[in-house]
């Protein structure tokens, strides 16, 4: 395996940090309005869909880590090259790099849309993009350790929002949740499928895994992080379901933000404005990790420096941002991204695991034959 990564011990980090990385990578722009799409399919049983989606992500992560364990010092790109050979492996790598780029793009677009509708209607999109990109460049050029720090701080400083989520329960009608399992199983599964856009993010493990110090502990922390985000998503969807009526929820674009508008605190009347601005810190890990994942893939083709990469990447993102301005275009982007993400994040890892273990068995068999 010539594609093995050479990672010095000082570049590696503790497995426990995976908890913050995965949690921060998962929570992003999706949480602002995922209720609408899930409720459209699963109605008041949407919370069951959320649990199902989280369950699937646990299964997928299990397979991802199993695959990575077969190649202890290699990331997804190396695995591709090993399994598919140089040519096909490179094509698959390009697809994965494009996926990460697309994820980055979609996060930026959605966040700008929220800022433009809720806070500054007349602020130019290019300006917000520039600000966000400079932040990303700053974190990226600092190296992986800085990005992990961003993840940690984003998670810790965002925790207070969870308390705010429970405040609208004053207006709760708990009977909205009944009867349990009022929808058939297909619509609940459909709802779980609609969660894709919101729940992805944990795939950054594909590129981060080789950097873990204690590889055997990674699995535990990643699953813990998934449980933690499940708790966040479940809280939000349950509060939304009892707070809104079903038809109202289907019409509310960013239900989580609308939820916050009812809260009045003595020192601030419109907490959602603060939360939206604060969200920059929440999406920053998303952006950094996706950019970094793309970088690892690009590095397999041409050995570019991180700084050069991120500047070029940012310029590309800035240009790509200009033609897409309207809400309907962004909706199209989201739907398209969700479809791609479902294939790449939820279906492909299982397939890859089967292929990787087959290859592993064959290789061992081959060695035995040689010896014999």
């Amino acid at each position: 395996m010539k594609s093995t990564l050479q990672i010095g011990n000082d570049e590696k980090f503790n497995a426990s940090l995976f908890f913050f990385v995965i949690a921060a990578a998962q929570v992003g722009v999706g949480i602002h309005g995922f209720q609408r799409v899930v409720v459209k399919d699963a109605g008041h049983d949407a919370w069951i869909s959320v649990i199902l989606a989280a369950l699937f992500s646990h299964i997928v992560v299990f397979f991802m880590i199993k695959t990575l364990e077969l190649y202890p010092s290699n990331d997804l790109y190396g695995i591709h090259l090993d399994i598919f050979g140089k040519f096909i492996g490179s094509i698959v790598n390009i697809i994965y790099v494009l996926y990460c780029t697309f994820a980055f793009y979609s996060v930026i677009k959605n966040y700008i849309e929220v800022i433009n509708t809720w806070v500054f209607p007349d602020l130019s999109q290019s300006f917000i993009t520039t600000v966000l990109l400079i932040l990303v460049i700053y974190a990226f050029t600092g190296g992986l350790r800085v990005m992990l720090g961003v993840c940690f701080f984003s998670f810790m400083t965002g925790l207070w929002i969870l308390i705010v989520v429970y405040m609208p329960l004053k207006y709760a009608h708990y009977n909205h949740l009944l009867p349990l399992f009022g929808h058939d199983i297909t619509s609940i599964f459909k709802g779980a499928y609609s969660m894709t856009f919101t729940i992805v993010g944990f795939e950054v493990i594909n590129t981060l895994y080789p950097y873990a110090k204690e590889k055997n502990k990674v699995q535990k922390y990643v699953h813990l992080a998934l449980l933690c985000t499940l708790f966040i998503y479940l809280s939000v969807i349950l509060v939304s379901l009892v707070y809104f009526s079903e038809a109202q929820l289907e019409r509310t674009l960013w239900a989580t933000l609308t939820l916050f508008t009812v809260i009045k605190l003595p020192f601030i009347e419109r907490i959602e404005i603060i939360i939206i601005c604060f969200w920059t810190i929440i999406i920053l890990p998303n952006l950094c990790l996706f950019a970094w994942s793309a970088y690892r893939g690009v590095k397999r083709f041409k050995n570019v420096k991180g700084t050069t990469f991120i500047w070029l990447f940012s310029i590309l993102m800035f240009i790509a941002n200009i033609p897409m301005q309207s809400r309907t275009q962004i909706d199209d982007i989201n739907n398209f991204f969700a479809q791609i993400a479902f294939v790449i994040v939820f279906l492909y890892p299982i397939l890859l695991y089967i292929m990787a273990s087959l290859k592993n068995v064959l290789r061992k068999g081959g060695r035995k034959n040689e010896k014999g």
Binding site: I134, L135, Y171, N175, L178, Y243, S245, K264, R270
Partner: protein
């Protein structure tokens, strides 16, 4: 200069530059604190806004402006042309609807309000007897800011559960719900005062009926649980103690009322409900001849209260069925308790009119003041 320093300069300039986006300086804007909508000819709408202008040197000024246009945004542009300061709706606290407009339907006005991100969902709504324009433009002797005055009036009455809670969120939730209708409090100008005049029942966004303020207690009792309320009752004196008490009527007052409302579907096919209300209260005022230490007598009083409350509830329920406005959530309970109910808007409208409700009230006097 090192590369890192350039980035830091860029970051800092971003922080400074973000401060320059769309300024809203308090002294240069007029805060719209209240809007009243009335119906005008040719499907147009008259909007009357109460504008508070903050003046750093003098006392702040309150201005009432009224304009007629086809959309509410159009009226705002027209009002903007008449005021010296830019209007901002972020401090909007109350929206009033004239009686005529309420009868024509307020669905469009609700939709417009929900689409506007400036407006919080915690604002109050109410119907005005007559036109809201005449209510707002009258120079009240003791009221300096009519917007703030009406907000405070509604706020503390809703807090004390004297009138029906009518935040924008609750109204929109019930309006879009297929199995529920909403009600709004009615305001009326009474000489030099503004006062509550009852409750307006809505069905599909149109005002279909109203009940006087005296019935508020019973409406609220069926809609929600009381935490602490007060009630004055006239009981039949003969039924309590005919020997001691000769007068026909016995006036009593109870307070610290805590109620628990339960709605149960007892027979889904027959469309039959059980409405149970558990009430705990304190006896506060009663004729001095009646010895309140007598447990048997208290029991009789409890029974008489039961009977009285039950009759009132049945009467109000009958009225709501007549005007076909389910503001209590019977439909919601039906949907929650009957599996596979598949209630549609039309279906529930028909069912609500001929549903049967067994009202059961259980009053318990738990204490009676400090003097027997």
């Amino acid at each position: 200069m090192k590369k890192g320093n350039i980035l830091i300069v860029l970051l800092l300039s971003c922080i400074l530059v973000t401060g320059c986006t769309s300024q809203e300086i308090l002294e240069r804007i007029g805060l719209v604190t209240l809007i009243g909508y009335d119906a005008a000819e040719e499907d147009k709408v008259t909007a009357t806004s109460v504008i508070r202008q903050i003046n750093p040197e003098l006392q702040s000024k309150v201005e009432v402006q009224s304009e007629t246009e086809s959309t509410s945004r159009g009226t705002r542009v027209k009002v903007d042309m008449k005021t010296s300061k830019k209007l901002a709706a972020g401090q909007l606290r109350v929206i009033l609807f004239g009686e005529d407009l309420a009868k024509n339907g307020i669905e469009d006005a609700l939709h417009t309000t929900m689409m506007n991100n400036e407006i919080s969902t915690s604002i109050y709504l109410a119907v005005v007897k007559g036109t809201s324009k005449s209510l707002l433009e009258y120079p009240y002797k003791d009221v300096t800011d009519v917007g703030q005055h009406i907000y405070n009036l509604m706020d503390h009455n809703i807090e004390q559960q004297h009138i029906i809670s009518s935040t924008l969120h609750e109204i929109v939730r019930d309006n879009y719900s297929e199995v529920r209708n909403f009600a709004l409090p009615i305001l009326r100008k009474n000489g030099e005062f503004i006062q509550f005049d009852g409750t307006a029942f809505f069905s599909h966004g149109k005002m279909v009926g109203n009940l006087p303020a005296g019935d508020n207690f019973y409406i609220l009792m069926m809609q929600d649980n009381f935490k602490d309320s007060t009630l004055e009752l006239v009981l039949d004196g003969q039924s309590i103690d005919s020997s001691k008490f000769e007068e026909k009527q016995l006036q009593i007052a109870i307070d610290s009322i805590k109620t628990k409302r339960k709605i149960k579907v007892v027979n889904p096919e027959q469309n039959e409900f059980d409405l149970t209300i558990d009430m705990k209260c304190r006896l506060l005022e009663i004729n001095s001849l009646i010895p309140t230490s007598d447990a048997k007598l208290l029991e009789k009083i409890e029974k008489a209260i039961n009977e009285k409350v039950k009759n009132e509830l049945s009467r109000i329920l009958k009225y709501s069925q007549e005007v076909n406005s389910d503001i209590y959530g019977f439909g919601e309970q039906y949907r929650a308790q009957v599996r596979g109910a598949k209630l549609t808007d039309q279906k529930w409208r028909e069912m609500f009119q001929d549903m049967k409700v067994n009202v059961d009230v259980d009053v318990e006097i738990i204490r009676n003041g400090v003097f027997e």
